[in-house]
Amino acid sequence: MSVLDTIRKYREAGYYKEFDYHWGMTVDLDRCTGCEACVVACQAENNLPIVGESSFAQRREIKWMRIERYWEGEYPNAKLNFIPMFCQQCDEAPCETACPVFATYHNQDGLNTQIYNRCIGTRTCAVYCPYEVRYFNWFTYTWDEPLERQLNPDVSVREKGVMEKCTFCIQRIREAKDLAKDDDRRKVRDGEVTPACAQSCPTEALVFGDLNDPESRVSKMANDPRGYQVLEEQNTSPSVVYLQKVHGDEEAI
């Protein structure tokens, strides 16, 4: 490749012309009941720390997946909207440019990765994230006996001073890719990998898959006319599409 081509490659916005896989999710707000099974599953799968009562009261909880609740109207016509909020794995993530030590960057799977070992805790990424889905370890949280037996051996535990966030259960994605590679070097098929939240959702409101693949379930759901993206006007290009809730007596816009 000539020098000019090399320079052109490095001067291209985002660097990647296409991703190997472009992992994404759809969240069907019509199906979400706000049961928070996804929150618990995420906590169990990813060794999320239990911060304790006083830290929780200080608004320091660590919930990679959280359910946002918005009330509409007054009793007896009150409506409650649930919005599961987790890292949107933005393709133009404001948080990635913020980190001075490259502890967060965009990988070839379209994921916004967080490298715990590299993080020095400046917390700039959390300020830059418009969705507030980044969580900081204010102390080194520990698990009381016998809860430490429940920890997932595939996932690390983080010490104080490290930022963490939803990773689309990257350990499961890696495992699926490894198995697919062993199995005749094929690509991961749709449905072979599911993050903990999608796996535990009782109403199947969360659908995960490869947005690159037009035949995958997630791609089809993302093309639904009810689809929108949270804080679209921030131009972060998230990989998560939310499907608007259909209210009984109103039309979906």
Partner: protein, 168 residues
């Protein structure tokens, strides 16, 4: 052996120094408590060479800073935020800072080199030179220059002359 002449007024000291120059005596230094811009003109000190240090330092700093940004970004390709790997707005800002940093450091180096500091060896000096007197000093004049130097210094209106003057 050095000769130092102490003067109360600026013009006297300058005329003494000019006289010594005209007589061909080398190693003449004119010391004062404050910079004398008139003296600099009289003694033929034009634009300083420190400028060259600043310019070269700034250019090297700029090139070095930009190369540092580009080279470090290419070691491991880690795209961030949908931006290019060689992103100009941040890199030019870093370049601006390194330009000033290396410019400042090389100006400092230039100052020391051009002023020939640090110089801790014994050289002619009088304490009053840093208070309120002007001191003209001739460093190690040859034997036939001594009389002429003393004559010129006395003629310019020196307050005092010392043969083996204070050294630093």
């Amino acid at each position: 052996m050095d000769i130092t002449g102490t003067f109360q007024y600026e013009e006297d000291a300058i005329s003494a120094a000019q006289g010594l120059h005209a007589a061909g005596i080398k190693n003449v230094s004119l010391m004062s408590p404050i910079p004398m811009h008139a003296a600099e003109k009289a003694l033929g000190l034009g634009k300083s060479n420190v400028r060259k240090f600043t310019l070269i330092g700034a250019i090297l700093g700029g090139l070095g800073g930009f190369s540092m940004c580009v080279a470090t970004a290419l070691v491991f390709i880690m795209p961030t935020g949908g931006r290019a790997i060689i992103a100009l707005p941040p890199y030019l800002l870093i370049t601006y800072e390194t330009t000033i940093l290396i410019g400042v450091l090389s100006t400092l180096a230039g100052f020391f080199l051009v002023a020939k500091l640090p110089a801790w060896k014994n050289r002619p000096y009088r304490v009053e030179a840093n208070v309120n007197r002007f001191v003209v000093a001739v460093e190690s004049p040859s034997s036939n220059e001594v009389k002429k130097a003393e004559q010129i210094i006395r003629g310019a209106g020196a307050l005092g002359i010392e043969q083996t003057g204070d050294t630093l």
